[in-house]
């Protein structure tokens, strides 16, 4: 006879057996090594997981380097993961193990680490990943929650400076069976873009011109002074003003469903697609919550990443902006999406092209006549 007590013991024994291999550090799971790509692109991945959990291997190499952040040639002593701002997006599935190799080459000047909001304990990995120039470390954590999560550098005493100098990215943990709408029906995207927003704080000289420095360390004191006033000099997508416009604009086709993942590791923002919408939006980025529908603008809390699905219905150029329009137009937070396809007159039609106001009649009456 199985009593309640023996049943419980049975459960405990099973739990130990399951836990033991992990503690012994020899997870017998298939491994997949992923080559990361620079944003706004995202490495190839399955939206619905095939098979069971895996150990997903990623490598981030820290690069301290000078970058230009606007058309005027303003320079930033940037700190980056893999050389891009933002850092590359990683995609895994719930229950996978993320095995991350963090490399700090000897050519860098500072210690760095990584705090992953998707990870549990150890300051998100920050406590276990301090690497000096010339060191590397491997961290493994289990992806227990679904959603889009920010990761960033978090060295003691200078966290915000490292983050606003470019050291932030996003990891997306998909449900094993893929995304769902509020009614539980599967959702799918045809392409995905990762838009990482960054607030920069570039010091100016006595003549109001942006200063440049020979190393991050030399920029530290002045930059901190600007940071403490909380007013960024630049708010940009993908590391520089105009990085996702013109020949680098994002592209899509009418009828395609595009996933936009948007992160800001430090400061609140509010993406908006001018001329479009968010069909399904996980504003907080966490897929266990049903997505909101038909949004005009969505709010990304500083230190988080959100996700929005949109099916383009009309061709043309769309502006993807931070809808604090001062930040979009004056500080740089504007991207463009070029969409190919057939125009749909039912959705929108230019009834009367702009022209002279007809003499002697009210313009409203003229419009009424013409539409009949």
């Amino acid at each position: 006879m199985i009593t309640r007590r023996t049943a419980l013991m049975g459960v405990a024994a099973v739990a130990l057996v399951i836990a033991a291999p992990a503690l012994a550090d020899d997870l017998k799971l298939p491994r997949e090594s992923v080559e990361l790509v620079a944003p706004p692109f995202v490495h190839a991945h399955d939206q619905v997981a095939k098979g069971g959990p895996k150990i997903m291997e990623f490598k981030l190499t820290i690069r301290e380097k000078e970058v230009v952040i606007d058309d005027a040639g303003t320079k930033l002593q940037a700190m980056t993961f893999n050389g891009s701002i933002p850092a590359p997006m990683m995609v895994v599935h719930e229950g996978d193990y993320v095995e991350l190799t963090l490399v700090n080459p000897e050519t860098n000047t500072m210690p760095h680490n990584i705090d992953l909001h998707a990870a549990t304990g150890g300051l998100g990995g920050g406590a276990l990943t301090h690497v000096n120039p010339g060191e590397q470390t491997v961290l493994r954590f289990k992806a227990t929650r679904t959603g889009t999560f920010v990761y960033h550098c978090a060295p003691e005493g200078m966290i915000p400076w490292h983050v606003v100098s470019g050291m932030h990215g996003t990891i997306m943990v998909l449900p094993r069976d893929g995304l769902k709408n509020p009614e539980g029906k599967p959702l799918h995207y045809d392409r995905i873009y990762y838009v990482g927003e960054n607030d920069f704080y570039i010091p100016k000289d006595e003549n109001g011109k942006y200063k440049s420095y020979d190393s991050p360390g030399e920029a530290f004191a002045d930059t901190t002074e600007v940071m403490r006033k909380l007013i960024p000099t630049h708010v940009v997508f993908n590391g520089r003003v105009g990085a996702l416009t013109g020949k680098n604009a994002m592209t899509a086709k009418v009828g395609e469903t595009v996933m936009f993942v948007h992160s800001e590791a430090n400061r609140d923002t509010r993406p908006h697609i001018i001329g479009g919408h968010g069909d399904y939006v996980w504003e907080t980025g966490k897929f266990s919550n049903p997505p909101e529908k038909d949004l005009e603008t969505w709010f990304i809390r500083g230190g988080s990443a959100g996700a929005a699905l949109y099916t383009f219905r009309q061709p043309g150029v769309y502006a993807y902006v931070n809808h604090n329009l001062i930040e979009a137009a004056e500080l740089g937070a504007t991207a463009h999406i070029k969409v190919d396809g057939e125009w749909n007159n039912d959705l929108m039609k230019q009834v009367v092209p702009p022209g002279p106001i007809p003499v002697g009649k009210s313009s409203a009456a003229a419009a009424t006549v013409l539409t009949r």
Binding site: N132, P133, G134, G157, I159, P160, F220
Partner: protein, 291 residues
Amino acid sequence: MLLAMKLKAALTAAALASPFAMTAVTPSDTLPSAQEFAALKAENFSYRIAGDFSRDGKPVAAPLRQIKLDSSLAIMTRQVTAAEYARCVDDGGCPRIPQASTKDDMPMVGVNWRDATAYARWMTRTTGKLHRLPTDEEWVFAAAEKASDDALPVTGAADPVRVWIARYEAETSRERPALLAPQPVGAFGRNERGLQDVAGNVWEWTDTCFVRHDVEPSGAARVTNTNCGVRVVQGAHRAYMTDFIRDPRTGGCAAGVPPANLGFRLVVEQERWPGLRRMAERAADKVFGRL
């Protein structure tokens, strides 16, 4: 290793010093004078090695060693003052510190390692005598009873989280100095070696780099990484500070009481080429089998 690092520092400073030796000026009251250097005879003292130590990837306490400096030590009995630093700035030898607000007779604070090193180089050029920052070993020796032992409160724990929490508790239970603003020279008294204001509210830069060690089963410590972008600062507690930091602070994941102010005192070498002499001596010892 200690010798090698000191030799490197001495040679660098000496190389910079030589072209200027002929133009050495007479020290005035805005330069630390010879009387302000205590001559400390080398003696055995116990020293907790600076840096990070781990065994099998788990943090362990740094070894405590009985050591003796290679020779006597001439170290300033007080910290470099604001007036002294200002003279170096006026002379073009030191960076001007925008936020420096301390009075002339008070210790210079708000300096980073690069500023302090620039001052030592300028002193070397100005006086023709080799000035430099002390090493951590030298500082601990000179600080004597004022030096604090920062051994990990828990060692050998199988669970690294226990070490982590214990370190957090030790760091957060440190007392913040009652006075945060710099005080006139001498406000914190003298130690048994005659040094003023040791472990007061000004922490002092040393030349010692942050070093990571792996303790092998034999007990020998092997250096796995040396990061000279981070230097040891010394005072009421030992801290590791990135060399461009002028205003230390905690916050975020960093816990505990940061150094209240960053300043420095200098060491002067008695001879022009002390490292070379010692190297020659060691070589001779080896040749004649006296080691």
